[in-house]
């Protein structure tokens, strides 16, 4: 077997640094929990509070009904010309035009904030600018090339540093992402969810389904379904056990939380299969088919999210009353309708600028409408994307958001999304840290069980499989290849948090983000152990996430180009 570069399988320094960060956060949160508990029992025993509490999540501002028209003020007899309007509801934004903030000369009659000094101005300006510049630089081809060379999924590659950046930047002593800034940036989450859902949907070309190896969908359903089931059942049990005393345990909420955690666990990044193929631990054809399965995992998670929002309605008292199945149909119908709308408006765009504007506007509209009626933008926009990509006469699937003008936009959106997610993540809930190792182990067990079950279902152990039919490689290699987690898991968490803000008080993020990191570590250490220390110089892992438009049929190493005389990648 040709040698493999060590950096392909060595845990990256960033990963180690971020594990260290998570470890630092864990004791801190545990300490905070202990202090809280001690305060409840015997306040005198607590000497001092070790750390300033984090800024709490910004509460959602409720939508209020329309401002009613002000009734006309009747004319005053002795003031015929200019009647007074005592309190007209001027809903105008004060910053609508130039110089509006000059109005701050007379600032609000609330307790006055200390005047900004030069240091504050410079820190906030440069800090915010640095974060946004980094988000843009993360989309630079050289950063993508590094990520691909290292074979990291986006969530553990360039994504995790941004999560950490968000986590750090929102701390009060840093003060860059203050609650007001976060409040302004939160709609980006809704838009980001819509973008990711649409992206996954447009990659799902129904016209290609019949070209897939027979049994692909069955393998995906069994593999990801088993994982979701195992993780869901174990999570439900653990959540019931660690439920805070004094709070009523609602069975429906436990089921809902378990389904969401199961959905997060089900998704795999295709990077694992690709790397295993390059390491020679999987046959090239098996690796290619497995990447297809891993990419399809996203669909399973999105379906689970759609079912959860239909069964556990996040908005009570709406004017529309439907049974759960009705909500499912409505969700699908909304997705199809909005997909057609997107297709129509983009088709009618008359120039590239309008194309960009209409696509972004239609995506925001779709994501916003889904969220407004209590659906997941992720699921609805997935259906929209699938519809738009599969309308007869539409472009080939995958080409919607992979055109150059969107490609430059995509990574910064993801990175800004990660920063906001990191800033809203509150790692101080004890349950998250208790759940984390259990989640990782349960996920690994679920994947193993799923792979074995899929092998049995595909009758791979028996002879006579049809040529071209779905074949999974050896159980251990296949299982290992499916361990890395996709960024869609983070998107599922964000979607759940958006629909159910009270859900598990921030533990879910700890479980899924930490789980992605630990799974990647386990994968890399195990792959290294399995592959030995041989290296194959000049070859790159070409890892990419499914939402990075990873084409399972494309095995070409892209960067760097192979040196003359080097062995070519196996196909």
């Amino acid at each position: 077997m040709a040698p493999v570069p060590l950096q392909l399988v060595r845990p990256h320094a960033w990963t180690i640094a971020l594990v260290a960060l998570l470890c630092c956060l864990a004791p801190q949160s545990a300490r905070a929990q202990l202090v809280d508990a001690a305060t409840m029992t015997d306040a005198a025993d607590v000497p001092d509070v070790p750390d300033a509490p984090d800024v709490p999540d910004v509460p959602d501002v409720p939508d209020v009904p329309d401002v009613p028209d002000v009734p006309d003020v009747p004319d005053v007899p002795d003031a015929p010309d200019v009647p007074d309007v005592p309190d007209a509801p001027a809903v105008v934004d004060a910053s609508v035009d130039a110089g509006a903030s000059a109005a701050t000369i007379a600032s609000p009659p609330t307790p006055e904030a200390p005047p900004p000094n030069a240091g504050t101005i410079a820190r906030v300006t440069l800090g915010l600018m640095a974060i946004l510049a980094l988000a843009l630089l993360a989309g630079h081809p050289s950063v993508r090339a590094w990520e691909r060379r290292s074979g990291l999924a986006m969530v553990t590659g360039s994504g995790l540093p941004f999560l950490a950046l968000g986590l750090v930047a929102r701390r009060p002593e840093i003060g860059i992402l203050s609650p007001s800034v976060l409040q302004d940036l939160r709609p980006l989450l809704e838009f980001g969810l819509g973008w990711i859902g649409f992206r996954v949907g447009t990659d799902f070309d129904l016209r290609q389904v019949e070209r897939w190896p027979a049994g692909t969908v069955r393998a995906m359903a069994i593999e990801s379904g088993s994982t979701a089931l195992v993780v869901g059942v174990i999570s439900a049990s653990v959540l019931a056990l660690v439920h805070p005393p004094g709070e009523a345990l609602v069975a429906a909420n436990v089921v809902r939380n378990a389904v969401i955690i199961g959905a997060c666990a089900a998704v795999s990044a295709p990077t694992g299969a690709r790397l295993m193929g390059l390491l020679g631990l999987l046959e090239p054809s098996a690796a290619r088919k497995l990447r297809r399965v891993a990419a399809l995992d996203d669909v399973m998670a999105l379906l689970a999210v759609a079912l959860v929002t239909a069964a556990f309605r996040p908005i009570n008292g709406s004017a529309w009353q439907l049974p759960p199945l009705g909500w499912v149909f409505l969700q699908v119908g909304m997705g199809v309708g909005l997909g057609l709308l997107i297709w129509v408006v983009v088709r009618n765009a008359r120039n590239p600028n309008e194309d960009v504007a209409m696509t972004l506007g239609a995506l925001a509209f779709s994501a916003g409408m889904a969220g407004y009626v209590g659906f997941s933008p992720l699921a609805v926009c997935f259906v929209s994307g699938m519809t738009a990509a599969n309308v007869p006469g539409s472009a080939a699937a995958g080409s919607w958001l992979s055109r150059p003008r969107f490609r430059d936009l995509e990574r910064p959106i993801y990175m800004a999304f990660f920063v906001v997610v990191g800033a809203l993540w509150s790692p101080h809930d004890r349950r998250g840290w208790i759940m984390l190792p259990i989640y990782v182990l349960a996920r690994a067990a679920g994947k193993l069980l799923g792979v074995r079950a899929a092998r049995v279902a595909l009758a791979e152990s028996s002879e006579g499989a049809l040529p071209g039919a779905m074949r999974l490689g050896p159980s251990t290699s296949t299982w290992l290849a499916l361990l890395p987690s996709s960024a869609v898991s983070i998107a599922v968490v964000v979607s759940a948090r958006s629909s159910y803000p009270e859900m598990l008080k921030g533990s879910l993020e700890t479980v899924v983000i930490g789980g992605a990191l630990l799974s990647e570590l386990i994968f890399r250490v195990s792959a290294r152990a399995l592959a030995g220390h041989g290296t194959r110089p000049g070859e790159d892992a070409v890892g990419a996430l499914s939402i990075d438009h990873d084409d399972p049929d494309d095995d070409r190493p892209t960067l760097p180009s192979l040196p003359p005389g080097a062995p070519k990648a196996p196909r």
Binding site: D66, D93, D97, L128, L137, A349, E354, G361, F365, G368
Partner: protein
């Protein structure tokens, strides 16, 4: 046009159905409401702009009409919280507009016109301020919120109303210049005049609010208004210099993704502005001026880079401006609004004409530049909001009056300015690149 109309109806119907979802006690996620409103405004405003263009009106008028029709005071498809939650978009748009304006102002190139610009801006502003203040004083016995005030108090209120009603709109002028691809003496002079007037209005408002505080008491503050004004102006310029250096570094060392970087910079300026009481307009204007005139970054390059972002940002920005107008107030005060709008328009035009003649500007400038002074938008609205908050005894009434005048000028101003640009023969001289209605160079994803 028919296609745009059908699409508009479709989008409005979808929005209406979504808005019907919430029952009396139901509360939707505010983030979803923001995304929904943003997406709706992009889609609906762009189609409205197309319809307006087909009717030979400025696209901007279509955006405004769309916002006005869908806003809380008309159809109610957009709620007040939705509009309020999109303030970041407005601030970013202001930043984008100001940055573009700064980049367009090549002082070396503008030097021959500086005399005209200063003369037109100075005389028209002073004349309008005096005329409006005089009208306020003359009508004060019949204006309820002035009737009870003492003569010195009335004079202070009249001065403040004069400043607010005389203010111009750089955003409308720049958007129209960008939309029409206009270039020439009228365009250049108009841009300079509105930018200069805007800075003057900020300073004048500082003086006016300071005087009001002396006379009425107002809200006690630890820092004097003069200090605040100095912090705002010089702080904004300092931050603008930082922004300019950052853009320069990006242009020199990265280049890729310049438009996204500039948008990010505008977000930063908006956030910094709101948190540190600085003015996003001044920040970005200073950044643009420094980039163009000190750091020697090509303003054309920046403007070209910003083209793809301009369409959705401008559409949403002006639709929001339209949605923020209150038809109920206009219905109540339409007579007074018309009177003040006429006096303002006449005074500004006369001042501009006098200023242009005094500076011996070209005849085409003398004839058409006054029309650039008619549009009015958020400066007045923003400042009136502050007066309303801080001087409740008379500020609320003053705000209602200013809003109604702005509504009239916001509706008529863009139409008049476009007509002036067309008549002066400057439309389209900047090249097809600036015209957003240029034919497609890359097709939408419809091919096989």
């Amino acid at each position: 046009m028919i296609r745009s109309l059908i699409l508009l109806i479709l989008v409005v119907a979808l929005m209406g159905s979504a808005r019907s979802f919430l029952g009396p006690g139901a509360v939707a996620s505010s983030d979803a409401g923001t995304a929904l409103a943003f997406g709706f405004l992009v889609l609906a405003a762009i189609q409205s702009g197309e319809i307006a263009a087909a009717l030979r009106l400025p696209r901007l008028t279509g955006y405004l009409a769309c916002g006005l029709a869908c806003g809380p005071s008309a159809a109610g498809l957009l709620t007040a919280p939705m509009i309020s939650s999109l303030k970041l978009v407005s601030s970013v748009a202001v930043g984008l507009i100001a940055l573009s304006a700064g980049c367009e102002l090549d002082l070396k190139h503008l030097r021959p016109r500086l005399r005209s610009v200063a003369s037109i801006a100075g005389i028209s502003l002073v004349l309008a301020l005096v005329a409006v203040a005089a009208l306020v004083m003359a009508l004060s016995p019949w204006i309820p919120f002035l009737r009870e005030l003492t003569p010195p108090q009335r004079q202070v209120v009249a001065f403040n109303l004069g400043v607010l009603i005389a203010s111009l709109s750089p955003s409308v002028v720049l958007a129209l210049l960008s939309e029409s691809g206009a270039q020439g003496p009228v365009s250049e002079t108009s841009l300079g005049v509105v930018v200069l007037s805007d800075i003057a209005v900020i300073v004048l408002f500082g003086i006016g609010s300071s005087a009001a505080q002396q006379v009425f008491g107002g809200v006690h503050e630890a820092i004097s208004p003069a200090t605040k004004l100095a912090i705002e102006i010089f702080g904004s310029i300092a931050v603008g210099a930082l922004v300019a250096v950052a853009i320069r570094l990006w242009v020199r060392h990265v280049r890729r993704g310049l438009v996204l970087f500039i948008l990010a910079v505008c977000v930063v300026a908006a956030e910094v502005g709101s948190r540190l009481h600085l003015d996003p307009l001044l920040i970005n204007l200073a950044a643009g001026l420094i980039l163009q005139n000190v750091l020697r970054v090509s303003g054309e390059e920046i403007a070209h880079a910003l083209e793809p972002a301009s369409l959705p940002i401008f559409a949403v920005f002006f639709a929001l401006a339209g949605a923020g107008l209150d038809l109920a107030v206009v219905r109540t005060l339409w007579v007074a609004a018309l009177a003040f709008a006429v006096v303002r328009g006449v005074a500004l035009s006369a001042g501009a004409l006098a200023g242009a003649r005094l500076a011996r500007a070209e005849p085409v400038v003398q004839r058409w530049a006054p029309f650039a002074l008619i549009p009015q938008a958020g400066v007045s609205i923003g400042l009136a909001e502050i007066l309303g908050r801080h001087f409740p005894t008379w500020g609320v009434g003053a705000r209602a009056l200013v809003l109604s005048v702005v509504t009239v000028n916001l509706v008529l101003g863009p139409v008049l300015l476009r007509m002036a640009l067309v008549r002066s023969g400057e439309v389209g001289k900047k090249g097809a690149a600036a015209d957003l209605s240029a034919p497609a160079t890359a097709p939408a994803p419809t091919a096989g």
